[in-house]
């Protein structure tokens, strides 16, 4: 019989989403912040983003060949990692360092564990942390915002967050913080653009608003309890970027609803502890990475009960 009937398991309908489609939605959500970074820090931002993306794609392409695995660059996850990594770097970073960050993020944090869906920490954050440890001076040189296209003036003074934590008076208004007119990593400063991107992701049902809201809310409440200005805290540093785009990464965050809330609260607590009591100015990267490591435990502890089950069975796996 020519062209026999196709037989597959049920269901025979699909919602139409693909992994590539999800990644594309994330890239669209990141574009307002990318545009803002060019407006604020000049064309150098675009160069950093391009270099990061290119090195991530190349790293993934080559590592899949070396590991003899099917090629996965088409699912655009390497592009997303590249953009997120770039957003965590200052616009003045030497491009070769940015490239190294991309390679570390993809090869060490992702491909060595099996690729998409198998990593246990956020690759972009690993890239950033490795660069921070390897090139601390370059990673702390912030471009003065709004210098125009040829902005080359950089400053090594403290970011608003550092000033506030040390108890000083910072001279940026809340509006300036909201729009991003402050020194900082190229993608983290424009809160407005990040929130727009976040709303897009929520409307497209790519992320649920739970983690960002709980994370930011925890930071707000904790900093207020500790006597600091909560508004400055949530508008400064990498919190918006981290809460909306990094703490919602599928692979490295809990899969069930209760787990997500526990994860977000943990991220919030650690962020504030590191910011206020730790010797580092920014706690978001480390907070998220530490919570990433705890995700398997969180998932086990917050596993939902199957329908109708009344009590938790012992010795569950």
């Amino acid at each position: 019989m020519e062209n026999p009937l196709i037989i597959t398991s049920s269901p025979h309908l699909h919602c139409g989403m693909t992994t590539r489609g999800v990644m594309l939605d994330v890239l669209i959500a990141l574009s307002p912040a990318a545009a803002a970074s060019i407006l604020l820090f000049g064309w150098r931002s675009a160069a950093v983003v391009l270099v990061c993306v290119a090195s991530c794609i190349a790293a993934e392409y080559l590592s899949r060949i070396i590991l003899k695995r099917p090629q996965t660059v088409g699912d655009l996850s390497a592009v997303v990692t590249g953009v997120l990594l770039a957003f965590n770097l200052p616009a003045s970073i030497p491009l070769w360092q940015a490239a190294i960050g991309g390679v570390v993020a993809i090869v060490v944090a992702k491909q060595m564990f099996g690729g998409l869906g198998q990593n246990f920490v956020n690759p972009a954050l690993v890239g950033r942390i490795v660069l921070m440890a390897s090139f601390p001076e370059d990673m702390n040189r912030w471009v003065t915002p709004l210098q125009g296209a040829s902005g080359v003036d950089t400053m090594t003074s403290a970011t608003p967050l550092e000033v506030v934590i040390q108890g000083g008076e910072m001279n940026y208004s809340l509006q300036e913080l909201f729009v991003g007119i402050r020194p900082g990593s190229l993608g983290e400063t424009c809160v407005l653009a990040l929130i727009l991107g976040g709303l897009y992701l929520v409307i497209r049902r790519v992320i649920s608003p739970t983690i960002p809201l709980v994370y930011i809310g925890t930071v707000f409440v904790m900093t207020w309890l500790l006597g600091q200005n909560p508004f400055i805290h949530i508008l400064s540093g990498g919190l918006m970027l981290g809460a909306i785009f990094m703490a919602t990464d599928y692979t490295t965050t809990p899969i069930n609803k209760t787990g997500k809330i526990v994860f977000a609260v943990g991220c919030g607590l650690l962020t504030v502890l590191i910011r206020v009591f730790g010797s580092l100015p920014e706690g978001v990267s480390f907070a998220i990475v530490i919570m990433n490591i705890l995700v398997p435990l969180i998932e086990r502890a917050t596993r939902p009960l199957p329908f109708g089950e009344k009590r938790r069975l012992r010795n569950e796996r």
């Binding site: 019989m1 062209n3 026999p4 009937l5 196709i6 037989i7 597959t8 398991s9 049920s10 269901p11 025979h12 309908l13 699909h14 919602c15 989403m17 693909t18 992994t19 489609g21 999800v22 699912d75 690729g115 998409l116 869906g117 198998q118 599928y250 692979t251 899969i255 069930n256 609803k257 998932e299 596993r303 939902p304 009960l305 199957p306 329908f307 109708g308 089950e309 009344k310 069975l313 010795n315 569950e316 796996r317």
Partner: protein, 470 residues
């Protein structure tokens, strides 16, 4: 919708599910009766439970409504002929699940002579009622095919206080239950009254999805006429979200009660029956004609003239499709049932079975053959699962062949509704994995049971040897 308190409102809210496209193209198609085919093929296994054995021989002359196959086991239901004619042969059928079953082929003589046993049954008490239900050959017409007379004899008879009539029809395309509501609403309500009487329940809830407003108002109108003190018939509109009509989900949405894993609806005091089954019961008690035909929705992008058809059980599917104008595009997938839980058929020669309430012929545009890719742990399957399961964990346990873990994660509670696979961006075949996992769990349980019984048997001869003084 009256909510008396927050707690009750919360208990009625069901989780999970997906918004599958409705595609109810045939909703306004009045049911067309298909003339008897030249021959019908009656499978011996058209229900959950023990297959029947034929009670007629090749060469016998049978008439409409005559019992042609039966079983002496409890979980079974007799099979009747829908045509009059000669029993031509005993054949074998390959069912879509891969099981083989014997089948009777009956050649119609075109006369549709009715057998003398077809007369309204005398039903004076509960036992008569159960005997009549069994004799009618009724099995769940919603697609599950569970023998109705067993369902209507719950162990805890006195604890059953609610009968739920399932008119939700949450699967895309299928409109046969909707047409039952629009064309035979009096049969439904009279069937409901019969159930209330013999099951001694005070409350009947007719559950309908909100995308069927005409059915809701029609049923509400009649229900209001028969409701009286102590015998409530309520029509409950439910959100149109797949799988609203799934038994456990439906019971929770109507009563707030959750059926524990491994238990039956009667364990929470409910009996759920499909609306077409209820209507059939009422017609059977009035006319005595057993289950020989049923309404089937024929739809799909390949069908020329989709419609609802009343077909005689045993009619080959390709004849039903021809009756609907044949196919206008090449059929790439032929489904028995809805697109979410239906079975893909190997060919169109299979006859219409009692459990078949839809025939869907899908053309190229509806086929999605994307290669599965790696799980990205997005959690959509977890949000979509109406049974609160975590499919990636079960899949991991399946890979590790860990049947204990799969059981504890609730794989046996999976009802294979397909919500997980529908939502998966990586196009993973999650339902298939669940089915394989369930198979492994059952095999492990069977192996364990056999091991314990062998161990017991081995202990016996030892005792006998001792007492014999060996």
């Amino acid at each position: 919708m009256d909510i008396t308190n927050i707690k009750e409102w919360v208990s009625l809210r069901t989780k999970g599910g997906v918004h599958a496209p409705h595609r109810k193209h045939t909703a306004d198609c009045e049911t067309v009766v298909m003339p008897p085919p030249e021959r019908i093929i009656l499978a011996m296994s058209q229900h959950i439970g023990v297959p029947c054995k034929p009670v007629v021989k090749v060469g016998d002359y049978v008439e409409v409504g005559q019992v042609v196959a039966d079983s002496d086991q409890p979980v079974s239901a007799p099979i009747h002929s829908g045509v009059s004619g000669k029993v031509a042969a005993m054949t074998e059928l390959l069912l879509p699940g891969g099981l083989k079953t014997a089948a009777l082929m009956i050649e119609s003589d075109g006369e549709q002579r009715i057998h003398e046993s077809v007369k309204p049954p005398v039903v004076e008490n509960y036992d008569d009622f159960i005997k009549a239900v069994r004799a009618s050959g009724l099995v769940g017409l919603g697609g599950a095919g569970f023998p109705a007379h067993i369902k209507l004899q719950p162990r805890n008879f006195d604890a059953v206080d609610t009968v739920i009539v399932n008119a939700a029809e949450c699967e895309p395309y299928i409109t046969s239950d909707y047409r039952e509501c629009m064309e035979n609403s009096w049969d439904i309500v009279s069937g409901v009254q019969t159930l209330m009487e013999f099951l001694d329940t005070a409350r009947v809830i007719i559950a309908v999805e909100k995308n069927k407003p005409a059915a809701i108002s029609e049923l509400s109108r009649i229900a209001a006429e028969v409701t009286r003190a102590g015998h409530e018939v309520i029509v409950k509109p439910l959100p149109a979200r797949y799988p609203q009509g799934a038994e456990k989900v439906l019971i929770q949405a109507c009563t707030g009660r959750r059926v524990p894993p491994g238990k039956l609806p009667s364990d929470v005091g409910c009996i759920v029956m499909n609306v077409a089954s209820v209507a059939f019961l009422s017609r059977y008690l009035k006319t005595g004609m057993p289950l020989v035909d049923k309404r089937v929705t024929v739809d799909g992008s390949a069908i020329s003239r989709p419609k609802n058809v009343r077909v005689i059980i045993g009619t080959p599917i390709h004849e039903v499709i021809s009756f609907c104008g044949g196919t206008k595009f090449k059929t790439r997938k032929l489904l028995m049932g809805g697109p979410m839980m239906g079975l893909a058929l190997m060919n169109d020669e299979l006859p219409v079975l009692k459990q078949n309430n839809a025939i869907l012929a899908l053309s190229e545009e509806d086929i999605q053959l994307t290669e599965p890719s790696t799980c990205i742990r997005c959690g959509r399957c977890v949000s979509a699962c109406p049974m609160n399961l975590v499919p990636p964990s079960i899949a991991a346990a399946y890979q590790n062949k860990d049947t204990n873990a799969m059981e504890k994660l609730g794989v046996m509670t999976c009802m294979e509704c397909g919500c997980c696979t529908y939502s998966c961006p990586a196009h993973r075949q999650i339902v298939q994995t669940m089915r394989m996992g369930k198979g492994d769990v059952r095999k492990a349980a069977a192996a364990k049971a056999e091991a314990t019984s062998t161990a017991k048997a081995e202990n016996q001869p030892a005792k006998q040897a001792v007492t014999a003084g060996k």
